[in-house]
Symmetry: C2
């Protein structure tokens, strides 16, 4: 095997998700992931710190996308709609079978579920900071970001649990509409 | 020391919070907590499974209070207002110096912060279930509960970080008002 391995990262992710699904996260070793991907353990560790990191490595990119979308929204856009647009863009980026498989692995493991909650809390903080940079007050920024993440989380869980019913960005839009309705006392 | 120790549980909680604040959570042992409370380790373990449990044991009572308040709200109360009333009642129960000390200990430790997020997620699930029992649809119940917990979390953090400014139930009311304003696109 040569030093240049095309799409090593993607192949490792794919292999890891397959094995986590087949055997469970705890039972899978890095050696097995590398073998399934046709790569070495050394290559694995060039891309990921450990087997947990395979599941969470993409959240930095997602955060960048959310922050950029909020900051670039037109000045006239209400904060809640800037956050909705950002999470819809995030949903469009996540809208593939791999995200669904990843979620199935995460819900099956308490430690991974905790980690996922931490990542969601960190996305909410990043969104709040982006809103403050738009001049939104601290309290409004925090509430908009946290409520937005709540809408995203609920939509994502529905999408995972009801395959092929609706696409994720559409579910996110509906979730924000419902959020607006329930907070209006409907 | 006799077998009957008045308010052993409260004394252990008090001693634990003092020590966690003075030395840090990791550096404190159960033996030290028992000693500070003037009790034995055996008594400690009659009340708590481990030193982490001291910080989270009350969350079952809080959950019961929230669920009961939602279920007992008048039929005419909008779901979001039933949740606000529940969390205000929860805030009134938590509105004492011990809750503030507890929070300071938790934010200083990554593992405890994760645990706290799990407890908040579990409170949101319990609130959503209580709303479904009131006949609220699944999606509306989840969004109302998650958005409500977001409002509570933001209010609680403000209360912890700005001592003596406002009382917690008042901050929770203001947080819900702000939540309604931001989701209305203001």
């Amino acid at each position: 095997m040569g030093r240049w391995e095309p799409n090593a990262r993607g192949r490792l992710e794919q292999a890891a998700l397959e094995l986590y699904g087949e055997r469970g996260f705890e039972q899978t070793t890095v050696a097995e992931i590398a073998k399934r991907a046709g790569l070495t353990e050394r290559t694995f560790f060039r891309h990921f710190a450990d087997k947990r990191e395979v599941l969470f490595a993409a959240s930095g990119q997602l955060e960048d996308l959310l922050v950029r979308t909020v900051i670039e929204a037109p000045d006239s856009t209400a904060p809640i709609d800037a956050v909705a647009a950002a999470l819809e863009a995030g949903g469009a980026a996540l809208y593939h079978e791999r995200a669904r498989k990843r979620h199935t692995v995460i819900v099956a493991n308490a430690e991974l579920r905790e980690r996922e909650l931490v990542k969601l809390a960190s996305l909410a903080s990043a969104l709040a900071e982006a809103l403050r940079r738009r001049g939104v007050t601290d309290l409004a920024a925090q509430l908009t970001a946290e409520a937005g993440i709540a809408a995203f989380k609920v939509a994502f869980e529905h999408w995972v649990n009801e395959p092929d019913e609706k696409d994720l960005p559409q579910l996110i839009r509906e979730s924000f509409d419902e959020l607006k309705a329930v907070t209006a006392g409907k």
